[in-house]
Symmetry: C2
Amino acid sequence: MFIGSLGGVNGSEVLIFVMALVIGLITLVVRLGRKGLGGAAVEDLDVRTAPPKGTVTQRAIDQIKAMIADGLLGPGQRLPTERDLAVQLGVSRSSMREAVRALTFMGVLEARHGSGVYVTQLAAGDLLESFGVVADLSRGPQMVELLELRKVLESTAAALAAARIDADQLAEVERHLRAMDTTDDTEEILAHDVAFHRAINEAAGNDTMAAVLEGLSSRTFHTRVWRGYQEEGAIERTRREHARIHRALVARDPEAARVAAAVHVGEVEQWLRERLAEGA
Amino acid sequence: MFIGSLGGVNGSEVLIFVMALVIGLITLVVRLGRKGLGGAAVEDLDVRTAPPKGTVTQRAIDQIKAMIADGLLGPGQRLPTERDLAVQLGVSRSSMREAVRALTFMGVLEARHGSGVYVTQLAAGDLLESFGVVADLSRGPQMVELLELRKVLESTAAALAAARIDADQLAEVERHLRAMDTTDDTEEILAHDVAFHRAINEAAGNDTMAAVLEGLSSRTFHTRVWRGYQEEGAIERTRREHARIHRALVARDPEAARVAAAVHVGEVEQWLRERLAEGA
DNA sequence: CTCCGCCGAGTGATCCGATGAACATTCAGA
DNA sequence: TCTGAATGTTCATCGGATCACTCGGCGGAG
């Protein structure tokens, strides 16, 4: 096409110019039309859209959220296609996609390629899946705060689990406990350590709390903290502390479980606190 | 410009053509080079890119996250422009934008119009700002779980605050306490109620915990739950419970504060639990 | 009649180019 | 020296095109 236009004067340039002009006019008309509508007709929607608070995408996100919160969209339900939804909300598909992507990332929506966009079950696990980034990206004093937070929740979960755990769940806990005792591979120990706590947290019966703890115990966070911790011969101590938690669960003793879990996480917290004091 | 090119043959078209050609070639070379490198040289990067796990955007998100986690990008630092970053990660600008938007929404990045994209300070508040969605979208049994979680954290925060609160912070708490006692406007009471707890949570000295509680106490959640709760003449009881928490803070009595806060949230939790049992 | 594979419509995923808007920098003039 | 207008850089938004995937219908084989 370029070569053609280089060769000599032809009609294509005129065509392009006219098209650009037309497109410009259309755009102008559309914009004026949109502004015009906002003036009077759609009052109830206007309160949301007229004050252009933030970006267009942000508005789209809020509107979709509102649709779900108001019950217009239930869990598992399918949304209109991106194209239709974009028209419906008055934004372009690109902005629409960004909104959907953001909500997808937060676990509110789920996009199935070739099928459509659906609302998730809105379970705690879905919504808190992205919670892990906090743990992944925190450093320094924030890591201590995270461990303090985890100490509180983990001890509470252990206490609840001591009261509520059933035989199957206890067997699962014991399985990971034994697996940790019978290997020296650091990676394997780490994996079973995480699984050990996860089993307890799930046995506590509060899925929301378990999901938060899941985010707090993200793999990368564990790895970063414990790399140094376990080098100091803390593996044996960790094993003893796990065994103590387990005994409390078997004994159905909530307070013992609470204390044991608090001590377990508190040890790591204290170690990290001291290490930061030195490093600084 | 169009009119100019219509008038006669000039050099600009040649320039444009050459530029387009060059850009095309560069793109081609980059793509071939990437594919070629993936074969052997860059093994460690290859495990991330070669198996196209998930979507392109997801990969972009993970890569940016990795850059921050690895320290290549520090808090407050400016990222390359969208165009450069898109080329660098091998995705289009649209996908790039989606990734940036997702991270912006999570509070990891911040896009300043006309200036660039920056990494936030990565404070707990930034990262947990989107946490409120969980509270906004949960319903039924999940709301009880959220209140249970809040009971644990709020009581812990109250205990910590009793030990650490200073005069200014205590004055702030008292200000909201008095404001609640001297009005009957529901909206105003609600606002000061939230502020009352926020002041205590901030005085606890754990910003991460305060940020999580902030998300758990989102305005819409409060409104939904307390609309019914306060209709049952619970306002007076709420005032008494707040006063008790305040007395514990003044007395620097952590355990009293813990119990008072636990009772305060627990009352709402129990009420909601019963209400759900009836409704179901 | 039932089952299986092919195929086209529908839909999300990705890319591209263009234009507008907000901010930052530079430079001329008072 | 200070101010403000011109200029450049960058994000924000848009609409179109193309690719990849899924699902349901149709026709042929058994």
